[in-house]
Amino acid sequence: MKKIQLSLLPKLLSAIAAKKALYLPVDGKAGADYKRYEEGDTLSRACRTNRSAKDFFFPQVEDMAAFRVEGKKIEIIDTRKENEDFVIFGVRACDVRSFDILDRVFLADPVDTFYENRRQHATVVSLACDAPEETCFCRQFDILAEDPAGDVAAWIVGDEMYFKAKTEKGKKLLSSLDVLLADGDSAPVEKEKKHLEAIQHKLPISEFNKEHFKPEDLMEHFNDPAWAELSEACLGCGTCTFVCPTCQCFDIRDFKTNDGVLRYRCWDSCMYSDFTKMAAENPRHTQLERFRQRFMHKLVYYPANNDGIYGCVGCGRCLAKCPISMNIVKVVKKIGGKKA
């Protein structure tokens, strides 16, 4: 366990930034968002950034290759840039869990080397949640906001910040910062954890019947008439999927440059009518089907294929951002609730 006076945090951040690219949530005009550290930036204490931390490994837009056309010749150009080592500082427990969920998709065979590459270069410093929003429900997915995973976990206790390395990478990072860090006692952290856990238990979203989303119930859930009502107001925008830390669908597209083609991938949303154009059209014709797909994926398909791990981390972003306030909690209550 290491610690540092909060007043010295800027020094610590500078020290990290001196060695590696450092990203951290910073308060902005419209809430907190991750940005590359610049001298003077202060760590946001907001429990949730607008965009999730998945951007670091699975950015919204990523170039894959380019084709240069000269006359009648076509040349293929590798646009891949080896990523520099970087540190993400202050990731909340929900977002940290999302990395595991993404890993199971992108690092499974065949490995997505773009993703893998970014993953390998990253060191994640997580931060325990001291002031969750009423829309937070990560605990429902057995995520411990008071004791987040990551390469290094951090807690703010009083005017001190405590760090605990959880992986080799984490240890390396902490040891590289040895000069600035003092040894810390784990007792205050343990006490803080208890305190934070108590807060978690007070959060309003608690009756969560996710146990009923078993693979064997797939057809029953799929055919549930409640989907019609749930999806009736859905606008078909991609807000929920884009703010979601675990949504991992992408489209690969060609952009016509002045001398050829740039092939890139970008996030796609299963909520879109032009998602996955199989044989010219989206097989999910109605918004009901598209809406159902998203939640069935998170709650049934994904756990069925991934040892029962749900594709939701309870970060609550979709609750806050959906233009019509339709979200996974309402879905769970309506679809899963029946079994209870």
Partner: protein, 663 residues
């Protein structure tokens, strides 16, 4: 993928001198899809066209790019040639490397580079071109002539002679126009009435011609070959069929104080009138602004004396709907208003008159019976000053016109000469900027005026005319003798500029025909298509297109008739396939496109569609009538969903050109 051939024209040295045509051909030959390239001295020549056709056959081309002069010049030529070789006309695009490249750039390197880029843009467009086939529409074999002056008369007669029906719409009670007001015509000095009135009679008697006098065009719809026109027949309060033209009413009408417009207000007529003795139709007209009966309901003299019972005070404007294949505009001209020319004292002294007023004063049928008398006191003027270019050839800053009115030099010479001939004791001065006399026997005519008739021609402008007692003091400068002159004239005659008739502008809007800044109708081509408007089916006759004298007007009128006959001879017209079309699957049916369409080419219908989820749905969608659409593209931009696109100038084609240029 298209198989494109590129043909670079040298245009002799017009292109080749500033553009490295070989380099252009080679560079474009490297473009994707280009399977053949060639450069040649004159692509538009028979030999050049054969080269294009051979390449199409030998290399199985699906499209071609010709880098040459403006598409406005030879696009049609190359498209026709390609069509003959089996490639759809619309698969040929022109890169304009002459007017928009070689002729405006001096640096060969720069011009060559630009030519290549223009070529690339054309290639990019051809890649997205699709064969287009023009639709066909029938032709209504009847022509409408708007305006019954000498231009309209001649055009109507020629068309009728070819066997087609013609209607003349004339806003005045009689046809005849300005020529009927003129006394003698230059350069032959024959009497205008003597040559015009027989033609007017001919029109009246021609079975193929209908005259709608005292009428105006109210609404025009449709397109070339298929116009439908609504004609307003203004109430003349006299039954045209019953009226025998005896003229008794025009003598007995108690309302005598109506300015006679035929004599330009120099004398007065009655409230019921026939403009002049040879009017066609010779039918009386009641002037509602002056008729006591119509204004107060008390009088009815004309009705009482008319033995034919032709008077009808209750007559109302009526409308005639008729279909036409072609419309001829022959709306003519007017002298400009001179109220703003204070320096010439036009509005201050009745003895300052316009040339047209002079015509009436010297006309045997005019207010003075043809004797030259001053309007003010009826005395013989002994000293007359003619001022030319009043309101013509100005710099554009004043109230006048920038153009030359063309006819003033000649008619002023005529006036001067006739005055001197009839009244040798009269001194005649003519002030001019230049004397312009191009035309058969024109210069000889002018020289006779100077040499034989002793007219004083003075180069210089009149600065001011000051009425002083019975005299008009004319202050002017003589630019040749470099001196100031002061002439005590009895009469000043102003050669006022001529301008298109005021009715032309709203008519142009109805016809969707374009006009220049002076309100003269524009030709489809100033040299090669001078009697056609750019709007298909609209033809131009006479001064509505630009100032003209009588011989020129008549020849243009006949040329115009020839064009109309050429159109009416055809049974079917092939349309322009570059028209808008709506992708019904994208269309919202929101009616936005309809609102910006100037031709009313867009309508909406409810159609059944099979939706992606396999249900059927009725949707309101736009549909474009390709025969009515003229292909402007206004709708394509108004449409937010992009459902509306334009054949031949599609969104993707234009963007491909943009891409190629900005590379």
């Amino acid at each position: 993928m298209q198989r494109i051939g590129v043909f670079v024209c040298w245009c002799g040295s017009n292109i080749a001198a500033t553009v490295d045509v070989k380099a252009v051909a080679e560079a474009l030959g490297k473009e994707p899809g280009v399977v053949y390239f060639e450069d040649y001295q004159y692509m538009c020549s028979e030999e050049g066209q054969t080269k294009l056709q051979n390449a199409i056959r030998d290399y199985k081309l699906t499209g071609a790019v010709v880098c040459s002069c403006s598409p406005r010049m030879h696009e049609a030529t190359f498209r026709k040639a390609a069509a003959k070789a089996g490639v759809n006309s619309f698969m040929v695009e022109i890169a304009n490397i002459r007017e928009q490249c070689s002729w405006i750039h001096k640096n060969k390197e720069e011009a060559t580079e630009k030519a290549i880029i223009l070529g690339r843009a054309a290639i990019a467009k051809v890649h997205l071109n699709a064969p287009l086939t023009a639709g066909e529409s029938p032709v209504t074999k009847r022509a409408l002539v708007i305006g019954g002056g000498i231009a309209g008369i001649q055009t109507a007669l020629d068309i009728a002679d070819a066997g087609f029906e013609v209607d003349i719409v004339e806003k005045k009670p009689t046809i005849g126009g300005k020529m009927s007001q003129i006394d003698k015509t230059f350069p032959t000095l024959d009497c205008a009435a003597c040559i015009l009135t027989p033609k007017m009679v001919e029109v009246a008697q021609n079975e193929k011609i209908r005259i709608f006098s005292y009428s105006e065009v109210d609404k025009v719809q449709g397109f070339v070959g298929n116009f439908s026109v609504s004609i307003r027949r203004k109430a003349r309060f006299v039954d045209e069929v019953k009226c025998t033209g005896c003229g008794l009413c025009t003598e007995k009408c108690p309302q005598k104080k109506v300015p006679n417009e035929f004599n330009l207000g120099l004398d007065q007529r009655r409230a019921i009138y026939i403009p002049f003795a040879q009017a066609v139709p010779k039918v009386a007209t009641i002037d509602p602004d002056y008729c006591t009966m119509l204004k107060t309901g008390k009088c009815g003299v004309c009705s009482k004396i008319c033995t034919a019972g032709a008077i009808d005070y209750k007559q109302k404007d009526s409308f005639i709907e008729e279909k036409y294949g072609a419309i001829v505009v022959a709306t003519g001209f007017n002298p400009i208003e001179l109220n703003k020319y204070d320096e010439f004292a036009y509005s201050q002294s009745p003895d300052v008159i316009t040339s047209l007023e002079f015509e009436r004063i010297t006309n045997a049928a005019g207010p003075t019976g043809g004797t030259l008398l001053r309007p003010s006191d009826g005395e013989h003027p002994k000293k007359i000053v003619f001022v030319q270019c009043v309101g013509s050839r100005e710099d554009g800053s004043g109230c006048g016109k920038t153009y030359c009115s063309k006819i003033c030099c000649m008619y002023t010479a005529k006036h001067a000469m006739l005055t001197r001939e009839k009244y040798p004791d009269t001194e005649v001065y003519v002030f001019y900027i230049d004397v312009r006399t191009p035309g058969k026997s024109f210069d000889e005519f002018y020289r006779r005026a100077v040499e034989e008739y002793g007219v004083h021609y003075i180069k210089g402008m009149v600065g001011k005319v000051i009425p002083q007692g019975k005299k008009l003091m004319v202050r002017a400068s003589d630019l040749i003798d470099r001196k100031q002159l002061l002439i005590d004239a009895d009469l000043v005659v102003l050669a006022a500029a001529i301008e298109p008739d005021k009715s032309a502008r709203p008519l142009a809007t109805m016809l969707t025909a374009s006009m220049d800044t002076n309100d003269f109708f524009t030709e489809a081509h100033p040299k090669l298509r001078p009697v056609e408007s750019p709007t298909a089916g609209i033809f131009l006759s006479g001064c509505c297109q630009g100032p003209k004298d009588i011989p020129e007007t008549v020849s243009q009128a006949s040329a115009c008739a020839a064009k109309v006959i050429g159109l009416l001879c055809r049974d079917k017209l092939t349309g322009n396939p570059c028209v808008a079309h709506s992708d019904e699957l994208m269309c919202n049916g929101c009616s936005t496109c309809e609102k910006v369409c100037p031709y009313g080419a867009i309508t909406y219908q409810d159609k059944e569609f099979r939706m992606p989820d396999r249900t059927m749905r009725t949707r309101r969608v736009a549909s474009v009538n390709p025969a009515v659409c003229q292909g402007c593209g206004a709708c394509t931009v108004a449409c937010p969903s992009g459902a509306m696109d334009l054949h031949g100038f599609s969104n993707s084609q234009i963007m491909a050109e943009v891409d190629a240029i900005c590379k």
